[in-house]
Assembly symmetry: C2
Homo-oligomer: 285 residues x 2
Amino acid sequence: MDQFSEYYKGRSGLTLGVVKKLYAKQTPYQLVEVYETDSWGNLLTIDGLVMLSEQDEFVYHEMLSHVPLFTHPKPEKVLIIGGGDGGTAREVMRHKRVKQVDLVEIDEAVVEACKLYLPTVGDFDHPKLTLRIEDGIQFIENTKEETYDVVIIDGSDPVGPADGLFDTSFVEQCARILKKDGVFASQSESPWVKHYQPSMQRLAKGLKLFFPRVNPYICSIPLYPTGLWSMIVASKKYDPKGIHINETLRIEGDDFLNGCRYYTDEIHRAAFALPAFVRKIFQIE
Amino acid sequence: MDQFSEYYKGRSGLTLGVVKKLYAKQTPYQLVEVYETDSWGNLLTIDGLVMLSEQDEFVYHEMLSHVPLFTHPKPEKVLIIGGGDGGTAREVMRHKRVKQVDLVEIDEAVVEACKLYLPTVGDFDHPKLTLRIEDGIQFIENTKEETYDVVIIDGSDPVGPADGLFDTSFVEQCARILKKDGVFASQSESPWVKHYQPSMQRLAKGLKLFFPRVNPYICSIPLYPTGLWSMIVASKKYDPKGIHINETLRIEGDDFLNGCRYYTDEIHRAAFALPAFVRKIFQIE
């Protein structure tokens, strides 16, 4: 094999030059693989779909973390569902205000593969981190109290084990375990890929039932289908779009942003400006 | 053949399912081809590089047109260099304020291929349009006076006939033929593709010698390498970043924006918020 291809429609998609396959494990949930590519570093795939590469993972992880984390003034306790590569947790734990991160990944093989072949992505020995290998939906159902300041859904596409992460019943559970000023964020697929649009709409609609503020936003991820990716932040109290992070940076330290390669204060606010066709998908007037 | 691939590094890039090849002509300048794809409509390529597809061309053409056109309050006379597919001219001519468009394409085969197989892209019979088949660099050198309100460079990658479009000497000529409050815009490649970064920097640096305001901006084009694309607007007088288009819409008509699928007033301003790594490439403090 000298190439990996992910087709999102017909025979159209992304192709990556492959130096060699480093890891492959069929688990009860999915097929987890790592490739060494010719131009993006090592690459994690699940069921043949790109999850991340060493060279572009910073976009996804910064945008899924820092948008909700800077929306909340005191995000001490954070729950991440999925995200077994550790990248979202890494970015979340860079915030000094964060005291505790629970990372709930369903598939141990994802963690194993990343520890072996993508060691710069996660920091699994970090004292703030508790890693749990279990079903995130179950974990949330078993959580009895309003416990978290921020919940981040870092799942794969809405097929297989991640499908339930777009359901209204799941969103309701997330709202239930968030404190009264809690913030929720989730990845929500590419606006260009028609067959995921119903899932995007289902997620946004469900969130509106439980959060007064529901704001889709976008970023540019080169190895995801079409390169345009959407995420959603939902907030019980604080306005995600109105944030200027200067005050927060007094706590986090001025050099916090120097550790970011995509996220900036300006990007935070600009990410909510959606292209006209994306506004239509999310039914924004 | 059942697939077309464009690799931007090693064997990594974009792959499109091909139903059939509709057009191929080797001209003195380049190889012009049109494919029918399985998922993006018909596709124009030059020397094996994607120029546009029917389904995603609106992003590029709206963002390359409306950002400079809404920056200028009275863009009556517009020059487009390249852009033989007619898409940029189509968007420019939607502005009522525009009275005359000169479209200077070096290669007649591009126009021919698009008239035949991408007829929805251009509107070559529009009364505002003058199409000239000649070298754009020569055309500008032969233009003696400050004539244009807006000059738009709609060229291909900085190899082959389009390489000179990134030179400081060319930028100087563009500034020379623009009126005292003129606006310039050009496509400027993907920030992710390292081998084009010197061209991007050369263009930005050159522009700063002749325009007080030089502002790179970004948009998301699914069929261009990495999906993240940069453009630059340079202005002698008006501030491209400070524009709110409400007043202009009183002239253009409220339904102008209904004809846009990507561009919005918010997108105009948000497009100037660059990811941290893109700020570094353009050496923005």
